[in-house]
Symmetry: C2
Subunit: 415 residues, 2 copies
């Protein structure tokens, strides 16, 4: 059995017993009454410690099994999810003026985004609850990761994507055999239609805000960061923000470890949105309730004008004593190029927004140059080649002749 | 120091001392006189054994450091290269009728292909030899991996790609800051122009056939397969063939392990090309010297009409008592779709050609249904989204209305 003790409403704090179908607080409703998974931390401390964990031969997110909302004996996708590399690229650190800058490259997950951590949990829980079909709406990565993980477990998927989702993500969905519904409208339209369809056909619901278990998968990224830094918690963790579930998951990972005493401090969170779609940043900086906005950014994974988990996200940033910033699409493309050139890491636009936010803050005193900082790259740039080429320009095209090459390189000052 | 004892010409068997600039046999010339790296296997056996290796905390290709042509103290790219997952997807095994079928997913490398293993060696050796600029010609993956690994080490790159290279690979190159020369011609044109340019400007040469050290990086894929199968060597290893360097590297990995006695048998190799570009398969099956062919296949990474390492490749297959087959582009796209749907693994066309070859042989008696088989997926499908969509079809496009959805799913028999 797992170590879950209850599900607690983040609004009214009522605790519920975990059971199939219990997703949101009945009193507060599906929009406000998001549930938090609470574990029996005392029991975990009795059964596990840092040494048992470090000795684990499982180099995937499942090394943190006692902190996951699944039964240890349940079937899992065979894919290697999590335990992504934590890099310390010196060229990037110099470019930013931060001396202790790390990159957690979650684009190295099986379907090339952090969302695999949540989708694996969805697929396992669906099987635990006897379901054979899973559905979700997504700007792309949640969808492709669900399709991949479900395929690995022999499940059927229905995926609702907004019309603008990039081709790379659509290609993944189709290859993984998903039934893909491309909704000609906004993310909010896709979300609403998926909710109605899930209700009608009784599919398992992978929508991350509604399903409280998915954040539990995402939190493993923080557990890995803590372990990879030998339990020395960084001063700051920077991550992009769309629906709000990922940053809430990042926070949950650190707070779970803090509760069992494996770490002795918590990081500050830097939540970053695009200035073309920044409902949560605006709410945070202006200290007012969030309001829906347009979705005018190239960073499709965080183009969420109506975030589905706003409260968990805002609370996470406030509790951490962190901050939020909005950056322009140009800042995002610059960060993409800088990361690639200095470090050989290729992030998608939404994947590097956290890094762009760090660069925006560099030198203004909010973050000290000697503080330890981790920027999570949430997805691989191959998912969105169109924007990568927009960021990085075009190749030198010439005929197969040495004479032409000499002339061209000389003209460009490259010889 | 490393454990290299000599470089031996595969043609005339003369041994040379390894030194900077010694790449091919001076007597046999750069086309025939490809060199093989020979190690002091006795010394390796004295210093290492299976137990010391298995205890290594290094989960990357560098756990096989004694078998690599680099000095242990040399700087390396910070990227996590190798130690890619070996999966055993049961759905795929059922679809193929092979009971012990494994997938080695080398698309999980940092730049999403097996070529990272070779490019890391190139970048390290360039620095060891005091060079700051590396160049290569490539159908795409060698290039993007070189650009990424060089960026991680602060080196400059010049990359020659044929005009047809897919956008995903071009995007990677540009993001990694490479100087990209798109040669409007065939792979052979790009190769020739790069060779002349390397000669003229004195850049470090990463062309895999010419540079004998690169295969040494590639061979780690086999070492990992052996270790991941607990030193029980598979009966067959299937892999796609272009230039011939990868299959030669696969063979070198197993033979090196055999020489130190860590494995007690060798696998049969299945080398697969596309029927639109199969100079080596034709040579093998018709038992005659290879002849240049056209390059008419969607599998761009193996569209090599004039392979640069034909002899090493053909010898590897013959020595292993394996075989070669050519498959159609349709077979390749089918394999891509089948792998995705059953396993949640997304390979690029050239990446799944080995698998397509296995499927082609399934049931004809060449490979027994209980034999242990590993198919190496050499690159991730996100590198070539265009062909993935060709393989997998289009999404269902509808407006944001439940009524439309009900009608559409009912019409398709999906409700």
């Amino acid at each position: 059995m797992n170590y879950i003790s209850s599900l607690r409403c983040i609004e009214c704090r009522t605790e519920y017993q975990a059971a199939p179908g219990v997703y949101t607080c009945p009193s507060c409703g599906p929009l406000q009454g998001i549930l938090d998974v609470v574990y029996d931390y005392q029991k975990i401390k009795e059964d596990y410690n840092v040494q048992t964990l470090e000795a684990s031969p499982d180099h995937s997110m499942f090394r943190y099994l006692p902190f996951l909302p699944v039964n240890p004996e349940s079937p899992r996708p065979h894919l290697r999810i999590g335990w992504t590399p934590l890099y310390r690229p010196s060229g990037l650190a110099r470019a930013f003026g931060f001396n202790n800058l790390y990159i957690k490259d979650d684009g190295q997950n099986p379907t090339a985004s952090l969302k695999d951590r949540a989708s694996a949990i969805a697929a396992i829980r669906a099987v635990e609850e006897g379901m054979t079909t899973i559905a979700c709406s997504s700007t792309g990565n949640a969808a492709s990761s669900l399709a991949g993980n479900a395929a690995a477990m022999g499940l059927t998927t229905f995926i609702f994507v907004p019309g603008r989702a990039p081709q790379g993500k659509i290609a993944q969905l189709l290859i993984f055999g998903a039934n893909v519904i491309s909704v000609q409208g906004s993310y909010n339209d896709a979300f609403r239609l998926s909710a109605e369809a899930i209700e009608r056909w009784g599919w398992y619901n992978r929508n991350a805000a509604i399903n409280p278990y998915l954040i539990e998968g995402k939190k493993t990224v923080s557990m890995e960061i803590a372990e990879q830094l030998h339990w020395k918690v960084p001063d700051w963790v920077a991550v992009s923000v769309g629906d709000g579930c990922t940053i809430a998951g990042v926070w949950k990972g650190f707070t779970d470890l803090y509760r069992v005493g494996w770490i002795d401090k918590l990081p500050k969170l830097l939540g970053v949105q695009s200035s073309g779609c920044s409902p949560l940043v605006d709410s945070f900086l202006e200290n007012r309730p969030w309001r829906p906005t347009g979705e005018n950014t190239i960073a499709d994974s965080i183009a969420v004008g109506v975030p589905r988990n706003p409260e968990k996200a805002l609370r996470a940033v406030r509790e951490s004593e962190g901050t939020m910033v909005a950056v322009s699409d140009q800042d995002i493309l610059d960060a993409m190029r800088l990361l690639g050139r200095t470090s050989g890491i290729f992030g998608e636009p939404a994947g590097v927004a956290g890094l762009a936010g760090l660069r925006y803050l560099a030198g203004n005193g909010v973050i000290g140059s000697d503080e330890t900082i981790v920027a999570i790259v949430t997805g691989n740039g191959l998912k969105d080649v169109h924007n990568a080429i927009a960021a990085a320009g075009e190749p030198i095209r010439i005929g197969p002749s040495m004479q032409l090459l000499v002339k061209e390189l000389s003209w460009r000052g490259l010889d």
